[in-house]
């Protein structure tokens, strides 16, 4: 199905995907996703297998690498329908980033070694990018890889490494040339196994108590030379394209659509939508969603699947993340004082969805920080408008 779909085909396709999710995704998992509760690894693996068996686990990959060969528009319909139906995210790092990276820049041996277990769900990847001193200024990162015979010796520290505690592999951006004329020019991408000697993972607990991220320490970790992706010192160029891919998914149309539906449902059940002021705020969020959807459609019409996303991706990231936060905030508002009890022993009012409202609202604040903070997105947009080079 390489050609563009007509509206009827599109609707039929959405129906097919929806029916698949409803048949294969347990309600308990769906409810966790809607409430922003982290799912168990076993639940994630079961959903992975369902998608894998159907041939849908990596829809945006080319056909000969285990993808679907769909157009960008169809892939978009697919992923957003999954999200809208409450399907768990299988991890943006493996499928949206590492897979395309290896398909484009990896060696045959790397593709043969890493793509099949990624597709099958045997491997789970995390991304080692941010460091304590290098967040928005990622190119300043210091974790070093020094050649020693046929290995790279890695030393340093990563932080905000999402899912590192569950992942068995990591792709990391490391410094391979300290003397490069620009910091960006001395970075390479390395593939690591999380059980390599010298790797330590320390959890970073967030205030919402449950979701956590990690610090990862590297102490003389020896990585085989063949684990370097593409050319030495080209890591920045490769990862820029990856961050672009991450941004499109961060617009999270399906997520926003699903959470807005959830918001409207609980507000109606509560009688909260009888308050005209609150109803108006919910309607305004819905209008923002309609506008975001229109923007995504326009962007997709301009960009085919394998083209590098333009500055529209940065715009989508900003608007999508802001809407995500707004919806999460409105859910807390509907919950009112019932959102207050937290953790074990919550009061009799703090049961059901309201118990998750505040933690989810809090965690949604990360949407404007990760994947390149919204400030960085605006810098990129400004540059594309010919407004000089803000940092």
């Amino acid at each position: 199905m390489g050609s563009a779909m007509g509206p009827e085909e599109g609707a039929a396709f959405i129906q097919e995907v929806r029916a698949f999710v409803r048949a294969r995704l347990p309600d308990a998992v769906r409810e966790k996703v809607v409430n922003g509760v982290q799912i168990e690894p076993a639940e994630r693996r079961a959903w992975h297998k369902a998608l894998y068996d159907r041939g849908w686990v990596a829809p945006h990959w080319p056909l000969d690498h285990g993808g679907t060969g769909w157009t960008g528009a169809q892939t978009h319909l697919f992923t957003e329908t999954l999200a809208e139906e409450g399907a768990p995210d299988l991890g943006v790092f493996g499928f949206k980033m590492l897979g395309p990276l290896l398909i484009r820049h990896g060696s045959d041996a790397q593709r043969a070694r890493y793509l099949p277990p990624l597709l099958a769900g045997d491997d789970f990847w995390c991304q080692g990018f941010s460091e304590p001193g290098s967040g928005s200024d990622l190119a300043s990162l210091k974790t070093s890889a020094v050649p020693d015979g046929d290995t790279w010796v890695v030393n340093g520290q990563k932080i905000w490494t999402t899912m590192a505690h569950e992942a068995n592999r990591m792709f990391a951006l490391v410094r391979t040339d300290r003397d490069a004329p620009k910091p960006q020019m001395g970075l390479s991408l390395l593939l690591l196994d999380m059980d390599m000697p010298g790797i330590t993972v320390r959890p970073v607990i967030l205030l919402n108590g449950k979701q956590h991220t990690n610090e990862v320490f590297f102490d003389n970790v020896r990585v085989p030379a063949e684990n370097l992706v593409g050319a030495v010192n080209k890591g920045w160029t490769y990862s820029r394209a990856l961050l672009g891919a991450e941004r499109i998914s961060i617009a999270r149309i399906g997520w926003n659509r699903r959470q807005l539906a959830h918001l409207k449902r609980v507000a109606a059940a509560d009688g909260a939508s009888r308050s005209p002021l609150l109803a108006a705020r919910i309607a305004e969020a819905e209008i923002a969603l309609i506008a975001l959807e229109a923007m995504v459609v326009a962007t997709l019409e301009r960009a085919r699947a394998w083209e590098a996303p333009g500055v529209e991706a940065n715009m989508l990231k900003i608007k999508g993340s802001e809407l995500q936060q707004r919806i999460a905030e409105l859910l807390v508002e509907v919950a009112g004082p019932r959102a207050v009890p937290f953790g074990a022993g919550g009061g009799d009012v703090g049961q059901g969805w309201v118990a998750h409202a505040f933690p989810s609202h809090f965690y949604a604040r990360v949407a404007t920080i990760y994947g390149g903070s919204n400030e960085i997105q605006r810098n990129i947009i400004a540059r594309s408008l010919g407004l000089g080079s803000a940092a």
């Binding site: 928005s136 300043s140 207050v340 009890p341 009061g347 009799d348 604040r365 400030e375």
Partner: protein, 369 residues
């Protein structure tokens, strides 16, 4: 001795300066980040050491009648204390206790005051008003039973309710609002922690009998005044949290380096921190206006000023909380760093003491001048 001790402005300013200094010293001793965490995880869900320090400083006696162990002062002193406690994100139910104690001092009989106020003033006893929002009409029901009354109803998410020894329960009593003193041991209570690490409780009044002398003289107007005082003091607490969040954010922006410079040198962040400073000033000013209105006798004016403050302080707090986390980046979400805790404190303010729309309606109400 129902009267709150009169304030003399100059003396007041001096007393407040001394009080501020001693409290700041005590808070420096009891409220490191680690101490706060330990207090939250303790059985009391707050720092018993800090509470003892408040009592030793006489904070629990401020504005209560001297006949029952009270000390001079009024709402201005309490607002100042609330702001300082908000600045360290204190976990003790100080505001709740003082609001309840003042209600008791204003609406209680001599015998009721003599029974409860000395303990409250000495800090050996905590009381809370089992009601929160000025526009919430859902009260318990009180019906005559023998000589006394029986109470039916429930109250949810009462801040400080988990630590209270005494509840003041508002209830519909024969067509009017009655206020009843109910010892905590008489009610079914479930205490729990909140997302900002303070404690709260839900209580159920399942036809519990209360003696005739448990009903205060004061009724609806006394309740309205207490609720307005509670909102105003919550505003002061939020102002303290905002000031602290802004300081924290500025310090972080000055020390955090990216692209070879401190991120405080980026104009976009400078403007945002300027907006945060404006929000803090605005919140502090409108809280001061609400404080002044609380000292007046005109209930409608007081209600309007307090609700206006609740809305404006909520908006300012939300803006500051969001930017505080954003400017801190990932660090802003970490449990082991204070930014997220300021976010939670300010988020809590918005969820309690009546929602934004309710307060907007109170300001918009005809006759609200």
């Amino acid at each position: 001795m129902n009267a709150i001790a009169p304030e003399m402005e100059e003396d007041g300013a001096q007393v407040r300066a001394l009080l501020r200094q001693s409290l700041e010293t005590a808070l420096a001793r009891h409220y490191s980040f680690e101490q706060r965490r330990a207090a939250h995880h303790s059985a009391a869900r707050h720092s018993t050491g800090a509470w003892a320090a408040y009592a030793a400083l006489g904070l629990t006696a401020v504005s209560l009648p001297d006949a029952h162990g009270g000390l001079p002062g009024g709402l201005a002193e309490l607002a100042m204390i609330a702001e300082l406690l908000g600045g360290v994100l204190a976990l003790e139910p100080y505001r709740a206790t003082m609001v309840a104690a003042r209600l008791l001092a204003r609406g209680g009989t001599h015998a009721q005051q003599a029974r409860w106020l000395p303990g409250l003033a000495a800090g050996t006893c905590k009381a809370v008003l089992a009601h929160m929002a000025p526009d919430d009409r859902s009260l318990a029901e009180a019906s005559h039973a023998g000589e006394g009354w029986r109470l039916d109803g429930r109250a949810s998410v009462i801040p400080g309710g988990d630590a209270a020894d005494l509840f003041i329960v508002p209830a519909h009593a024969e067509g009017a609002v009655g206020l009843f003193l109910v010892p905590a041991r008489a009610v079914a209570r479930r205490g729990y922690g909140c997302f900002d690490w303070t404690g709260a409780a839900d209580i159920v009044l399942d036809g519990i009998p209360v003696p005739p002398d448990a009903k205060l003289d004061g009724g609806e107007e006394a309740l309205a005044q207490a609720l307005d005082e509670a909102v105003m003091l919550a505003c002061a607490d939020a102002v303290g949290a905002m000031r602290a969040a802004n300081r924290l954010t500025r310090d972080y922006a000055r020390s955090r380096r990216q692209f070879g410079v401190a991120i405080a040198s980026f104009q976009v962040l400078q403007h945002r921190m300027a907006d945060m400073a404006i929000a803090e000033e605005l919140a502090a000013s409108i809280t001061a206006a609400a404080l002044a209105a609380c000292a007046q006798t005109d209930a409608a004016r007081r209600a309007r000023a307090v609700s206006a403050a609740k809305v404006a302080v909520g908006d300012a707090g939300r803006e500051i909380a969001h930017h505080c986390v954003q400017i801190h980046g990932g660090m802003g979400l970490a449990e082991e760093y204070p930014a997220a805790h300021h976010f939670a404190r300010l988020g809590m303010f918005e969820r309690l003491f009546g929602d934004r729309d309710g307060h907007v309606r109170r300001v918009a109400a005809p006759g609200s001048q």
